[in-house]
């Protein structure tokens, strides 16, 4: 902890930029989670396969962010790349995924 504090004092971080990047990732997660829900419902996935589809899709979207937005340097855009980029907003996206998943499953199969 002391090392971390010293590191922050030597290389200070900009809180506004951190918030902006988190908001961007959150936007992307919300939009793509609904899209994945549409796809999962259309393809008729059930139970674990649907959740696996969501996690694989989210992983691919994280890779897209890593390559296209972060330009391969996640350290300079995210304070904790593992938590903020790869696992950021994973659970809040899951709820909108389940919403559109069940909606489109019901629309297509009912």
């Amino acid at each position: 902890m002391a090392d971390e504090e010293r590191e922050i004092q030597i290389n200070p971080i900009v809180v506004d930029s951190v918030a902006h990047n988190a908001r961007t990732v959150s936007n992307i997660r919300n939009l793509t989670a609904s899209l994945f829900g549409i796809a999962a419902g259309t393809l008729g996935f059930e139970s674990y396969i649907g959740f696996a589809f969501y996690f694989i899709g989210t992983l691919l979207v994280s890779a897209l962010i890593y390559v296209l937005l972060a330009e391969g340097r996640p350290k300079s855009f995210f304070y904790r790349p593992l938590g903020d980029l790869w696992a950021g907003e994973l659970v809040s996206g899951l709820s909108s995924f389940v919403l559109t998943w069940t909606l489109f499953y019901g629309l297509v199969r009912a």
Binding site: N11, V14, S17, H20, I28, T32, A39, L60, F78
Partner: protein
């Protein structure tokens, strides 16, 4: 990444047709196969699966590209870019796009450089001015 957001918007709008089509295809397929087979999960043809997956991936790329650029969180990198950004014209700056009020944008130490520091009394300049005034004043006094 110099890609026009307008272009991305039009690509996204065109691509939205594909998932709509695939959802409707899947719906029609489930309707037509409902009467013949009683299985709860009829297999979906490959073309619907491919159309769904390809359209979703195109839309994902479009969504990611359509977002504003990430900002560097390290202060030294960010301050350098913010100061460069201030020299650009208004409307072309990267850091003001889509920004609400209250955010610190630009050089945070600008108030030190503009010469209008609040609550700061520049003693040295005042002393020089006073000395000059005394010299001039005494010179005029001698003349009189």
């Amino acid at each position: 990444m110099p890609i026009l957001p307008l272009k991305i918007q039009s690509v996204l709008a065109n691509t939205l047709f594909l998932p709509t089509n695939s959802v409707y295809s899947s719906y029609e397929h489930s309707l037509t196969h409902e009467s013949t087979t009683s299985t709860p999960n009829p297999t979906i043809p490959l073309d619907i699966i491919l159309e769904t997956l390809i359209s979703i991936s195109i839309l994902c790329v479009g969504i990611v590209l359509g977002q504003p650029d990430l900002r560097p969180i390290e202060w030294r990198v960010w301050a350098c870019e913010a100061e460069k950004d201030e020299r650009r014209e208004k409307g072309k700056r990267a850091f003001e796009a889509g920004e609400g009020g209250g955010a610190v944008v630009g050089n945070p130490f600008r108030f030190l450089e503009s010469g209008e520091r609040r609550g700061f009394w520049d003693g040295r300049t005042k002393r020089k001015e006073f000395a000059a005034w005394v010299r001039d004043g005494s010179a005029t006094d001698v003349k009189i």
